[in-house]
Symmetry: C2
Subunit: 173 residues, 2 copies
């Protein structure tokens, strides 16, 4: 029903509104928390940062609301699996397609048809438009991880729409 | 589950983000599309207007997605009933509590516990904070009505939290 698309509509409007303040669209295919934005203008970087912050706080709040019984994680990998399954289903009504790790604090979460990129045509045509549709979700992942006690750096990259890879870096303390 | 609160979290962040640009909170208890905002500063009026516009476009999009078979309305009142029931359930998981009309193009839709006001304490305490939590929804109603072929002016008022009245004015052409 409509409530499943409500989030997507609202996200689209939010991106459009924040982008409206910066009329110069520059190329940039990487977006994320504390990551660099290739080729983005200063205004765009600020918009990406605002989107990421909003995502972070929503992620924190969602992290607190997700079922507590599943939160007795033994390992970092369990937390990441939780994000790929429970968080993704809660937000996007689907699971993440794959999760890979180097077992040294780097995780790559891949969604082969990321819902927030689906409205765009497939392929390479609108690739430079992608970063603004990823920043909120990078923040969302970082916020949920933060609620679960893990500090992280989350970036996203797109090689071909609508496939999206989120890279989660968990610095060893 | 979490997806039902996702919209509310995102709405909260959106309001906070737009309000952050205007550090001077002034009193103002009326908000809405093309309506006056009592005592609001220029920056706040702009934020309300931006929120209303975002609501409008989401309302338009939702209006297009809601089940078509119910859209064969004979009368204006049927459209308003549709908003009170189907649209409200899609967005807020509840129906509007009452609908009144003077049968001359003015409709008053009352929600006795409007979800976007619920996080605030009840009573009069935070009444002046209410308008920013109503602007998006005023736009949502106006957008959905627009998709259904009806031009309108939508305003909202709060006498005591969390009770909210939305007034829909449909000018006779």
């Amino acid at each position: 029903m409509a409530d499943t698309v409500l989030f997507e509509f609202l996200h689209t409007e939010m991106v459009a509104e924040l982008w409206a303040h910066d009329p110069d669209p520059g190329p940039g295919v990487s977006a994320g928390s504390r990551g660099e934005e290739v080729g983005a203008t200063t205004g765009q970087k600020m918009s990406l940062s605002v989107l990421e912050s909003m995502g972070f706080r929503v992620g924190q709040a969602l992290g607190e609301r997700l079922p507590r019984e599943t939160l007795a994680f033994r390992e970092e990998l369990d937390v990441l699996k939780f994000l790929c399954k429970d968080l993704w289903v809660a937000v996007f009504q689907k699971q993440m397609d794959s999760l890979r790790t180097n077992h040294q604090g780097t995780y790559v979460l891949q969604d082969n048809s990321f819902p927030l990129l689906l409205p765009m045509a497939s392929g390479l045509q609108y690739l430079e438009e992608a970063p603004k549709f990823l920043a909120f979700t990078c923040g969302l992942l970082r916020g949920a991880l933060c609620t679960l006690g893990i500090e992280s750096v989350v970036t996203a990259s797109v090689a071909a729409l609508p496939v999206c890879k989120f890279q989660v870096l968990i610095p060893k303390s």
